[in-house]
């Protein structure tokens, strides 16, 4: 026979001690903690900044970064659960409304460029560039089941099946691509291989000779040997995606700024203020390391000025702007 009493006694003692300590648990000093959540596109950048920031502070400030997606993140942000929101698109009209209801005010800071790359397989010998109207022909909703061969897009291209790959409809990439190409957010044909995981798309395009798809530049860059990027012609001649063409604004309409939104009350806390200033001053080199394109230096200065002045609200008024220059955006009047 085994005696269970020592075990029971230990558990009882543990529970008693827990009861004792519980009041301490509640009135304990909150450690300096910065909560960030949002887009998976912006995650690598914020992660890099958070990593360096914590190293620079020797762990005195704790930073957490989640991936709830831009939409899921804004839900938490507007409830006041998070301090900073990663966003791969500007705040939408519904989200502005949600934030207004809870009284959450915010600062909108562009932090980097993301370029959507039109990628084909390395075995694709016929295509080097594509025009925006050809992309529209391929991707608009009415193309479903109708545009199925390369020859239907441009006549010298082969009479071979056109295999399409693209972002899933929950992704901010999808919203932006459809807005930029078909003119209406979320308006796209449905008969293509869709995935929220960009690696799946990279693999799919690399292994399929007749494939065409769109992926973020950060996913194209490390897979250069497997994929080929098409130059995009937005009316001023074909332009390949690269750091230079994104920076000088010639890779249009598929390059876009990504943002962080900072809760106004959180921004009054010294550690959050320090973090954002670190982001805007040290961010550029880190952004290059994670294969995104930093904004021009004077843009960071201007953004910093806005942050210090406490320029509240958004300049987008609830609709994403396609093909806008970054400086143009910063000069716009913000609305709460």
């Amino acid at each position: 026979m085994i005696d269970a009493r020592p075990m029971l006694r230990t558990i009882a003692a543990f529970l008693l001690l827990a009861l004792f300590s519980f009041p301490r648990l509640l009135d304990a000093e909150p450690a300096a903690l910065i909560k960030i959540d949002g887009s998976s596109t912006v995650f690598p950048i914020t992660e890099a900044v958070a990593e360096e920031f914590q190293k620079a502070n020797r762990g005195a400030v704790r930073v957490t970064v989640g991936i709830s997606g831009t939409g899921g993140g804004f839900k938490k942000f507007c409830r006041g659960d998070t301090d900073i929101q990663d966003a791969s698109r500007p705040i939408s009209a519904e989200e502005i409304e949600a934030c207004r209801k809870t009284g959450v005010q915010y600062l909108e800071l562009p932090i980097a460029f993301d370029a959507l790359t039109i990628a084909v397989s390395q075995q694709n010998t016929w295509a080097d560039s594509i025009t925006v109207s050809e992309l529209k022909t391929i991707w608009e909703p009415s193309a479903q089941g109708r545009i199925t061969k390369w020859i239907q897009v441009r006549s010298p291209w082969p009479d071979a099946p056109l295999k399409l790959f693209g972002a899933g409809s929950d992704s901010g990439t999808f919203d932006y691509f459809t807005e930029a190409i078909t003119g209406k957010a979320k308006a796209s044909r449905g008969d293509y291989t869709a995935s929220e995981d960009d690696n799946t798309l990279v693999q799919g395009i690399a292994n399929e000779k007749h494939a065409l798809g769109y992926i973020p530049f950060a996913y194209f860059e490390p897979n250069k040997r497997k994929l080929k990027a098409l130059a995009v012609d937005g009316g001023k001649g074909p332009v390949l995606p690269s750091r230079e063409t994104v920076e000088n604004g010639t890779y249009q309409p598929l390059s876009r700024p990504v943002f962080i939104y900072v809760n106004r009350h959180a921004a009054e806390r010294p550690e959050v203020r320090e973090f954002v200033e670190f982001y805007l001053t040290q961010g550029a080199t880190l952004i290059e390391q994670v294969k995104y394109v930093p904004l021009p230096a004077q843009t960071y200065r201007l953004t910093m000025e806005h942050f210090r002045q406490g320029k509240l609200g958004t300049v987008f008024h609830g609709s994403p702007a396609v093909g806008l220059q970054i400086d143009e955006l910063l000069r716009r009047e913000a609305k709460p």
Partner: protein
């Protein structure tokens, strides 16, 4: 002659079934082995000491799983500590005290059904109840309680099995000597059932350790480069429970995050983390077998 041919035919059918059974077993085993080997080949090179003692990083070579394995361990600890008293208490009540009526039947059916509810539903429940109503935040405590809810039906069911396997003659003997119901349960039934209860608990925990859906729902994080507060402190009462309210990440979430990165090297990290997770699960199952064997040896009746 007819008899002989019948025997021969039956022998043939017999060996045919043995081969079929062996094949069925091999399908599962070989698939698991192939998966394991694939993971091992990919991730082996990354399994260094530094991998266990580093935080996540944007550089795949510097990235490690420190915050992830600490998170998984602490969450599992809270889960076990919550699920055991509640699960065993429910099982003891249902087996030893509850009257046999329609209400008990209803409870039993519900427990059986709860075991089949998808884990994401528990995540939603925890988000509504623990995070929004009780304001426990996206903390280790919330995660542990969520997973405890998830495995509770399994714990209750296996504890009931263990209690039921204690022979009735033991109870009758205790009652005959004047022991009360509680004394019988405390001194005889529970000690004998402990092996079975612990085995069931650990099997339930090895299911919980791989869960990510409910934790993502309550808001587990992807990047954490610090550890929770230590569970002790220099002044009275020496134990600190601050760590219960700290943010966390767990191994499956860290793996998922690495798999979705563009760089090939992060996928290697994910494979290595998968190996570690597999190792943790195996170790837990090994512990279950050890405990069962140990308690079986101690039981003499």
């Amino acid at each position: 002659m007819r008899l002989q041919s019948a025997i021969a035919r039956n022998r043939f059918v017999d060996s045919l079934f043995a081969i079929l059974g062996l094949l069925a077993m091999l399908v599962g085993l070989v698939t698991l082995l192939a998966l394991f080997l694939g993971l091992a080949l990919d991730g082996w090179s990354r399994l260094t000491w530094r991998f266990f003692t580093s935080y996540p990083s944007r550089f795949p070579v510097e990235a490690g799983i420190l915050s992830a394995w600490v998170g998984t361990t602490t969450v599992m600890f809270v889960t076990a500590l919550t699920a055991v008293p509640i699960g065993v208490g429910a099982a003891v009540y249902l087996e030893e005290y509850a009257p046999k009526n329609w209400l008990t039947d209803l409870i039993e059916i519900n427990i059986a059904n709860l075991a089949g509810v998808p884990s994401i539903v528990y995540g939603l429940l925890a988000l509504g109840l623990l995070v929004y109503q009780l304001h426990l935040g996206q903390s280790i405590l919330t995660a542990g309680l969520t997973l405890a809810l998830l495995i509770l039906p399994i714990v209750v069911t296996s504890a009931r099995e263990a209690i039921r396997s204690v022979p009735n003659s033991i109870r009758e003997a205790a009652h005959a000597l004047g022991a009360t119901k509680w004394q019988t349960v405390k001194d005889h039934v529970l000690p004998y059932a402990t092996g079975g209860i612990l085995t069931g608990l650990i099997i339930a925990l090895s299911r919980a350790i791989g869960e990510s859906a409910p934790l993502i729902t309550i808001g587990a994080l992807s990047f954490i480069a610090f550890l929770p507060h230590p569970p002790w402190q220099p002044e009275f009462p020496y134990l600190s429970f601050q760590w219960l309210l700290d943010p966390f990440t767990v191994m499956p979430i860290q793996m998922f995050n690495w798999v979705s990165r563009p760089q090939e090297e992060f996928h290697t990290n994910a494979a290595a983390a998968g190996l570690v997770l597999l190792g943790m699960t195996l170790a837990m199952n090994g512990l279950a077998i050890f405990i069962r064997a140990r308690f079986r040896k101690q039981i003499k009746w």
